[in-house]
């Protein structure tokens, strides 16, 4: 195997970006037992906020990251309050249908608004070399930001009262209520946070890759696998599985074949389904 460090670095960068999308998806599932098909579309919308901030206002994606997150937080929270809240506690199929419909609406109207044109931000494209690993600055910045944001999420969940409220709601809604927690607010907050993190991922993708209205679904497909791998509802599991996914893609492509690599996460998934049916991180609750 040539350049294992480079492969490791590539896998980690990709994994970090996946993790931003995946932790939110898992968080939302944990708190409200809703599989949000529109989650990837939040990443897409965030990406377009960053893109237009760049294209019209000349704002660097590192600057527009926060506004993009804020906008998508409000969008997500509003959507949750108005629409998603109505299917909480209903059968999974109801929420699947609803979020699938929302996804269709979001990406179809995005296709009208933004056209199907592929776009991207050319920013910090110069490569740098460190320890024999060469990478665009944008990848490195994206990696670091993704880590910071996921770290911030974990700290938020662990140490703040609203964070604990979200975890409590995720672990047992009835008890959370009996403990005086406004679970509805916790759900809205969790949904908004999930959307904001996805928006952050979108912003980073606009810098390291390219964006288009349909991208949400492609990322959803990957992150859904990640979330199942990590254990539905487990935020820590989603994080670990996202990196596992990125590394499998990277090493699988180089060591086996690019054609086999995409199947590896599913092989892992099947293995986990056999040996640990509830995912890498056991119980289906948001943890630590």
């Amino acid at each position: 195997m040539d350049h294992p460090l480079q492969l490791l670095a590539n896998g980690l960068v990709v994994g970090a970006i996946y993790s931003l999308v995946a932790v939110g998806l898992s968080l939302v599932f944990g708190v409200m037992r809703v599989i949000n098909i529109a989650h990837g579309d939040f990443a897409m919308l965030g990406a377009y906020v960053a893109f237009f901030a760049w294209d019209w206002l000349g704002l660097s994606p590192l600057v527009s990251l926060l506004p993009a997150m804020a906008i998508l937080f409000l969008f997500g929270a509003g959507l949750q309050r108005l629409v998603i809240e109505r299917v909480v506690g209903r059968p999974l199929l109801a929420s699947l249908m609803l979020t699938f419909g929302l996804s269709l609406i979001i990406w179809n109207s995005s296709q009208v608004a933004f056209t199907t044109k592929l776009r991207g931000i050319s920013y910090l494209t110069e490569p740098v070399t460190f320890l024999g690993v060469t990478m665009s600055q944008s990848y490195i910045v994206g990696f670091v930001l993704a880590l910071i944001l996921t770290g911030a999420l974990f700290a938020f969940l662990k140490f703040t009262a609203p964070g604990k409220a979200i975890r409590a709601t995720s672990q047992n809604q009835d008890v959370a209520l009996a403990c005086g927690i406004d679970v509805r607010r916790a759900r809205t907050l969790a949904f908004g946070i999930g959307a904001a993190l996805a928006a952050a991922a979108g912003t980073l993708i606009s810098m390291t890759g390219f964006i288009y209205p349909y991208m949400g679904f492609e990322y959803l497909a990957k992150t859904f696998t990640i979330v199942v791998l990590g254990g539905l509802g487990s935020v820590a599991g989603a994080l670990v599985a996202a990196f596992a996914y990125g590394l499998l893609e990277s090493f699988g492509t180089a060591m086996l074949s690019p054609r086999i690599a995409p199947a590896l996460p599913f092989v892992l998934l099947i293995a986990i389904m056999i040996f640990r049916p509830s995912g890498l991180f056991g119980t289906s609750v948001a943890d630590r």
């Binding site: 896998g11 592929l118 060469t134 890759g209 180089a254």
Partner: protein, 430 residues
């Protein structure tokens, strides 16, 4: 064999006088309904031309362009009685095709070949369209081919460059309009050899069109004595090309060629820049020709080469008028998919006009296979009906482009072949 579809003619002959007499009604009709077929509402049964195109999904961007080409063609035929560059054909001048207003029935196959098959069956059997145009992409075209052969409807395919669809299959009812994939990236191997490059890496998306393009590249590389140090397909769904380009780097190749569509071109270029890989030639399929490529990548796109079936500065008859019409209808500059769509429809138009009927499919088909002509898109001539590769495109050419900077703006310069070039090939890749 299967249902030979003769639609009974209800051609009552639209005279010029008739037409003028009804224009008053027409004006009102148009004002109310706001679209062209109304003009003919009381005259002639519309000529319904069906196609499925990828309007959503992976190929949406290109499919949409092709659709615009079809729509512009229908508009011109309905308004002018001919498309640009085809004014001198028999039976032209009268609005519509042989006097019948063209109505496009376009369905969305969501970039999925299986859906395409279902939709063409639907168009032929339940919607009973009069004529057909091809779908977008080699993959969908290939899947749909047996359906069209069975239904025996003459169909020009604008956006199928894969030769495998035609080679050795003796197709009787469909022709290729796009330059075949085997003529992709013209000049690549010659220029590489001239500069003393020895090692080439070919990476390509694992789907119909890129596979065929890679096959042709492989053959040409071998022919020209280049050593293929890496030759690998990657799956359709990938979003990060870094690991693959990493492999190319490790292989020691000084020429990297391949890709697939626009996303691949952007992704491979991003990965190449990110890894600091410096080949002498970076040449990618499809994407480089599109303005999105330069818009997305900015200066990272510089000196990347790619090819095109068509560029907006070509001088085929009617092409410049077409570019103008596109600009005023949709804004912006047309891409080759739209010119291809327009051009394919022009082949159908010419065959129908020369046949003087829309109902005698055999006659239209025979003309379509014998025709030697030029559209706004390219030259046209296909392998004859009795040959094993019947319908395969023989005349259409491609040009090699390179992203270059001129007056601070990024442009696609034509760098190969020499007769067509408006700039020098910048070597090596920077």
């Amino acid at each position: 064999m299967c249902s030979r579809k003769y639609v009974p003619s209800n051609d009552t002959g639209l005279t010029r006088r008739n037409f003028i007499k009804t224009t008053g009604v027409v004006a009102i009709g148009t004002a109310i309904a706001g679209h062209i077929p109304t003009i003919f509402a009381q005259q002639k049964k519309p000529l319904r031309i069906g196609a499925s195109i990828s309007l959503t999904g992976k190929y949406a961007r290109s499919g949409e362009e092709q659709h615009k080409g079809y729509m512009l063609w229908a508009k011109h035929v309905n308004e002018l009685g001919h498309s640009y560059g085809k004014a001198d054909l028999p039976n032209s001048g009268e609005p519509g095709l042989l006097g019948r207003p063209v109505e496009l029935i376009v369905l969305d196959d969501r970039s999925d070949p299986t859906t395409g098959v279902r939709l063409y069956n639907e168009l032929i059997h339940s919607r009973q369209v009069d004529l057909l145009l091809g779908p977008y992409s080699s993959a969908v075209t290939n899947a749909v081919a047996p359906i069209i052969e069975n239904a025996q409807i003459p169909t020009p395919n604008p956006m199928a460059s894969s030769t495998a669809i035609w080679e050795g299959r003796n197709l009787q009812w469909q022709v290729q309009v796009q330059p075949p994939g085997s003529r992709r990236l013209p000049g690549l191997t010659q220029v590489a050899m001239e500069h003393g490059d020895e090692k080439i890496a070919i990476i390509y998306e694992d789907s119909e069109f890129p596979r065929n393009a890679a096959k042709a590249l492989r053959a040409r590389a071998k022919e020209d004595g280049l050593q293929i140090v890496l030759d690998t397909a990657y799956p359709v769904k990938i979003t990060d090309w870094t690991p693959i380009v990493q492999q190319v780097m490790n292989s020691g190749a000084t020429v990297l060629a391949g890709g697939g569509y626009l996303p691949d071109a952007i992704g491979i270029t991003r990965a190449t820049r990110s890894l600091g890989y410096q080949p002498n030639i970076l040449s990618l399929l499809v994407g480089v020709a599109l303005p999105d490529y330069r818009d997305t990548l900015g200066k990272a796109a510089l000196t990347v080469t790619g090819d095109a079936d068509w560029t907006p500065n070509v001088n085929y008859p009617g092409a410049q008028k077409y570019v103008e019409a596109y600009r005023s209808e949709y804004g912006g500059v047309p891409e080759y998919h739209s010119a291809g769509g327009y051009g394919a429809a022009q082949i159908l138009e010419e065959a129908v006009r020369r046949a003087g009927t829309v109902d005698d499919f055999e006659k239209i088909r025979d003309i379509m296979f014998e025709l030697k002509t030029t559209t706004v898109f390219n030259l046209y001539e296909v392998a004859p009906l009795d040959s094993p590769d019947s319908g395969l495109q023989l005349a259409a050419n491609r040009v090699m482009l390179q992203v270059q900077e001129a007056d601070g703006k990024l442009e696609n310069a034509v760098v190969y072949p020499d007769e067509a070039a408006n700039a020098q090939w910048i070597y090596p890749f920077q």
